[in-house]
């Protein structure tokens, strides 16, 4: 088992390196760097000035070396200008040239400075991940139990009316992308002019102008049902359909197995058959799916956070990408890779744990 985890971790590190290198390469294409120079120094720079700015800020060093700098395995660049002032990657306003360490990269815990927010990347990342963490938590709390319940209920008696209704619901939700469902939900529940809010307000059932809030900005300071409900449901809906369908497929298959018949012929009641005999076997496949949903949720998070103006990881990623914020983008990609790979690891380990047939000796 330990060997397995070690090997998987190794693979994880390699993947992370490869992926960040790709991002590094893309964000450091010459046009992007020129844009960066102009936005950092002055928009009206001549081409020569841009070149010298880039040179004096270490951007003309070979790509691999600069990637190494970012990682923290290659000493950071230094530049001595005409007046003898030394600048460098690791030298900053609060760190003098002689006190600065040779290397300052991710390995040293220094993620650099965001060019959009003018703040350390680590700080921005921590804050936005915190916000997204809450969002994810609530999405999971809503999504997983609902999806499993729907899947199990429809799968345990295949072909019944309950099954048909729940399956239709599940298919409808997976077929609707978040940017559609999000907008619909806002219009129906979170708009002062359309949907049910005006009617409720007229009847005096709600005190504000809308039932749910159409933006989640206030949830960053205090989460309430009314400001967080719509974004959570928007993300969860899509996942619910997907996981429910997996669970249903797995459940219907399990229900036709001989050991279910054995249990039935032992006199076990239907409820007990579901709980004691079918559930664990039926959950093996969906468990993997749920874990693989995590990275996919990031995707929904990007759309929903933008839609509801909630400044989490997805929102930050959009800002960073839109403004070619090299350091922030790199950090975001590291986080994304880690999320994908860690959930995969958990899913594999969980699979082994749930399925005694492949439990390691």
């Amino acid at each position: 088992m330990l060997f397995f985890i070690l090997r998987r971790s190794g693979v994880m590190v390699l993947t992370a390196l490869a992926l960040t290198f790709v991002v590094f390469f893309m964000t450091n294409l010459t046009p992007n760097l020129e844009k960066l120079a102009k936005s950092e120094a002055s928009v009206r720079m001549s081409d020569d000035q841009v070149a010298s700015w880039l040179d004096s800020h270490g951007f003309t060093r070979p790509l691999l070396a600069r990637y190494g700098e970012w990682l923290g395995v290659v000493p950071g660049w230094t530049h001595t200008d005409a007046s003898g002032r030394v600048t460098g990657r690791c030298i900053g306003p609060d760190r003098a040239a002689d006190a600065a360490p040779a290397r300052c990269g991710v390995l040293q815990g220094e993620w650099g400075q965001s060019s959009v927010f003018k703040r350390p990347v680590s700080e921005i990342l921590a804050r936005s991940l915190g916000h997204t963490g809450w969002l994810m938590l609530w999405v999971m709390l809503v999504m997983v139990p609902t999806a499993l319940l729907i899947g199990v209920l429809s799968g345990m008696r295949e072909g019944t009316a309950t099954d048909r209704i729940l399956s239709t619901f599940a298919i409808a939700t997976t077929a609707t992308p978040e940017y559609v469902s999000g907008v619909i939900l806002i219009v129906v529940f979170g708009s002062a002019t359309a949907g049910i809010s005006p009617i409720l307000a007229e009847w005096g059932w709600i005190s504000g102008r809308t039932l749910f809030q159409g933006t989640a900005t206030s949830a960053m300071t205090k989460i309430t049902f009314w400001n967080f409900g719509l974004p959570v449901i928007t993300i969860a809906l899509y996942g619910i359909g997907y996981i429910a369908r997996m669970t249903r497929a797995s459940m219907t298959e399990v229900m036709t197995q001989q050991y279910i018949r054995t249990a039935r012929l032992k006199g076990v009641s239907f409820a007990q058959i579901i709980v004691k005999h079918a559930l664990r076997n039926a959950l093996i496949a969906p468990f993997t799916v749920i874990m693989l949903q995590f990275p996919w949720l990031l995707n929904g998070v990007v759309i929903v956070e933008t839609l509801f103006n909630y400044k989490g990881f997805g929102w930050t990623l959009v800002q960073a990408a839109g403004n070619n914020d090299i350091q922030l983008l790199l950090a975001c990609s590291v986080v994304a890779v880690l999320v994908v790979l860690v959930t995969q690891l958990i899913s594999d380990i969980g699979y082994v744990f749930l399925n005694p047939r492949i439990r390691l000796s």
Binding site: F3, T262, R264, V268, S269, S361
Partner: protein
């Protein structure tokens, strides 16, 4: 429940009809079926595949699935009608009063639940025991079913047990609540004969110990004789004959029962002097049953105008104990008449040497561990095999699962290359030549017939086309027209109507498919045919026809037949020489007579004793082997059979534990791989003997 009288039948099925409703039509699976089981009695249910045995069993459990429905009749258990019971009432009967065991043990245990929990569940539901008490009882029952190390087994998951152990657990589970009626649906079909013998013994003992009544379903008449007091023969959804085992076996009064007995190889049958008599034709599908007697189209005694007039009722045979037959003419038939003399043929003398193996070895290396890694292990699938085979000869290779029979066939065919040793095919050395590198001539001379006729035919090509393909591959025939002609000749040879050439495989029955497989194998004029369990997937009545066919072709083409089988009855019937394998070793080899009579190798002795024989005159010594076949990954040191051998104590010292026995050549070239001394070997008693009384009537 208390007022139920023990002199009355515990289970009484009356005029039961069951149909399955599919989108296309109603399938009447069981019609007008009646039978009753008395307390403590074991009732057998025999019949060919698809005749409705399992459907009856599931109807008793009221578990026919969504599309199955009881359309008429009643099932009374202890006087209460099960057909009208509510789900809730049924729950109190299932598992507590009636328990059922079915065919595949692995599939009937929950893979994600420990064995102990699955067992303990029964008394927890039905008697409200606490988990601890239930576990204690589970532990007790595990030792009752003679499993070693109950504590380990309680904690094990099903996949950690062998097939035989799993089946014992399933039996234990059924017995947990001491049910009054136990239904066993082919409980041993998936198991090896020696394991089967152990399980059957166990079931009989436990039945006696707890006074459980049994409904025992099997297609194997020998097993029925072994286990049951009464039996009911089913044909196409109906009971055609029922009575006590001795009545039905020795004084049968239904033509189907008679035909069934004549088509199975019993001791005394001989491929030359007394060949088996196959039942002509095929089993009718439920919706294609003929008018009148279902068996009519295949019956030797059919009388037009009478047998096909109206539905045939059950008729009681006077002076018997509830012996009934569903035949209109049973009074007219001379039951003592010997079967119409079959074709008596001459035994062929063995011809020139065509195949010679010397010291053949085949090892596989496998890695263990779920995520790769783990230690490399060597599986010795075949250990120093040496033998020769001649033209016209049938050599049987016998052994239980995992003994290396199929590996040997693969090596011979060139699907795998040998690790070591020599294979001389005609005059060629082929041990290192894989099939791709063999020339067409060699390939076409050495052909194989597979166990499962369902997997080996291309489902989307007509039968004729498939045979023509084989002819093309073997480069036979000069033109397309010539090949079509040859194909039709081959169809004649395997006794398939020529019109079948245009059929798709799915339009053929199992036996017919197997014939196509045989036709294909002989397309290139095969000289040596390796038949890997060619009839074990087929019904008994069809088995006879297919074996007969193989023999006929052999006689005509002077083929050498290597017949791989675990069924000793059929081996005895058709082979000239027999090779017994155990864990990759040939433990005994000799002519059929030598192998089937003492001196035996201890394993052969046990194997012979384990084979159920459907003949009331046969007396067998019971030798039940303990335990399971060791895994080929982890064979015992010394003699491969030492873990289960009952003769081991007769060998001085610990020779059996440490040394691989040498091959001992006895009189007549009979080889035995055992440390036992000649005296002891020669002093062995026969396992099977005939109580030589009157011929069967």
């Amino acid at each position: 429940m208390t007022e139920w009288d023990t002199s009355k039948p515990i289970l009484e099925i009356e005029n039961l009809s069951i149909s399955f409703f599919t989108r296309l039509r109603e399938i009447p699976a069981v019609m007008d079926f009646s039978c009753s089981v008395m307390p403590g009695e074991a009732m057998g249910l025999v019949g060919e595949s698809g005749c409705g045995k399992s459907t009856v069993a599931l109807a008793v459990m009221r578990d026919l699935g969504r599309n199955g429905r009881i359309t008429a009749g009643s099932i009374r258990f202890k006087g209460r009608d099960l057909t009208h019971m509510t789900e809730d009432d049924l729950r109190h009967i299932r598992g507590k009063e009636i328990a059922m065991i079915y065919q595949e043990p692995m599939a009937s245990l929950n893979p994600a639940m420990r064995v102990g929990d699955q067992l303990a569940e029964v008394p927890m539901i039905h008697r409200g025991l606490s988990h601890a008490d239930a576990m204690a009882q589970a532990r007790q029952i595990i030792s009752d079913v003679r499993l070693p190390d109950p504590d380990r087994i309680l904690r094990a998951y099903p996949h950690q047990l062998s097939g035989g152990q799993q089946q014992r657990i399933v039996i234990a589970m059924a017995l947990m609540a001491k049910p009054a009626l136990l239904i066993l649906d082919e409980p041993t079909t998936a198991l090896d004969v020696t394991v089967e013998a152990g399980i059957v013994d166990l079931v009989k003992d436990l039945g006696r110990k707890y006074g459980t009544s049994m409904l025992f379903i099997s297609h194997n008449l020998g097993l029925i004789l072994d286990v049951c007091n009464r039996l009911c023969v089913m044909y196409s959804g109906e009971a055609v004959e029922t009575g006590t085992v001795t009545e039905v076996f020795d004084r049968m009064r239904h033509p189907y029962t008679q035909a069934l007995f004549r088509s199975i190889p019993l001791p005394g049958a001989d491929k030359n002097a007394r060949p088996l008599i196959a039942i002509p034709g095929n089993f009718p599908l439920p919706h294609e049953r003929p008018r009148g007697c279902n068996f009519g189209p295949r019956c030797d005694y059919f009388e037009a105008g009478r047998c096909d007039a109206a539905t045939v009722p059950m008729d009681l045979v006077p002076g018997s104990s509830r012996h009934e037959t569903r035949c209109l003419r049973w009074r007219d038939i001379d039951w003592a008449a010997p079967p119409k003399a079959g074709r008596v043929t001459e035994k062929l003398a063995p011809g020139r040497l065509v195949l010679k193996l010397e010291d053949l070895k085949k090892y596989y290396s496998v890695s263990s561990g779920a995520f790769g890694g783990g230690a490399e292990k060597v599986v010795k699938a075949n250990e120093s095999l040496s033998f020769e085979a001649r033209e016209n000869e049938t050599l049987a290779i016998v052994g239980e699962s995992g003994c290396g029979k199929s590996t040997f066939a693969k090596v011979l065919m060139g699907l795998e290359t040998a690790t070591d040793g020599q294979i001389m095919l005609f005059d060629e050395n082929v041990q290192d030549t894989p099939i791709q590198a063999r020339n067409t001539d060699t390939v076409s001379k050495l052909q194989m017939v597979f166990q499962n006729p369902f997997d080996t035919l291309n489902p989307s090509m007509t039968v004729g086309r498939q045979i023509i393909r084989a002819l093309e591959i073997f480069q036979k025939g000069t033109s397309d027209a010539d090949r079509v002609e040859r194909m039709l000749t081959l169809m004649d040879m395997v006794k398939l109507p020529r019109a079948f050439a245009d059929r798709m495989p799915r339009q053929l029955s199992g036996g017919q498919k197997q014939r196509v497989g045989i036709a294909r194998a002989f397309a290139g004029g095969a000289k040596i045919v390796v038949a890997d369990e060619p009839v074990s997937a087929l019904d008994v009545s069809v088995q006879a026809a297919v074996t007969d066919l193989l023999m006929d072709i052999q006689r005509e083409n002077h083929t050498t037949l290597l017949f791989i089988s675990h069924d000793l009855s059929i081996v005895r019937y058709l082979s000239d020489r027999v090779m017994v394998m155990y864990l990759g070793h040939v433990v005994e080899m000799g002519t059929t007579d030598q192998v089937f009579s003492p001196p035996y190798h201890p394993y052969t002795e046990a194997l012979l004793s384990a084979v159920p024989i459907a003949d009331t005159r046969v007396k067998k010594r019971r030798i039940v082997l303990e335990g399971d076949i060791p895994s080929a990954m982890n064979p015992p040191p010394g003699c491969p059979f030492q873990t289960r051998c009952r003769w081991k104590t007769e060998v001085p010292g610990d020779l059996c534990d440490t040394d691989l026995p040498p091959v001992k050549v006895m009189a007549g070239g009979h080889q035995i791989k055992c440390h036992l001394s000649d005296d002891i070997l020669n002093g062995m008693e026969p396992v099977i003997s005939m109580a030589a009384d009157e011929a069967r009537g």
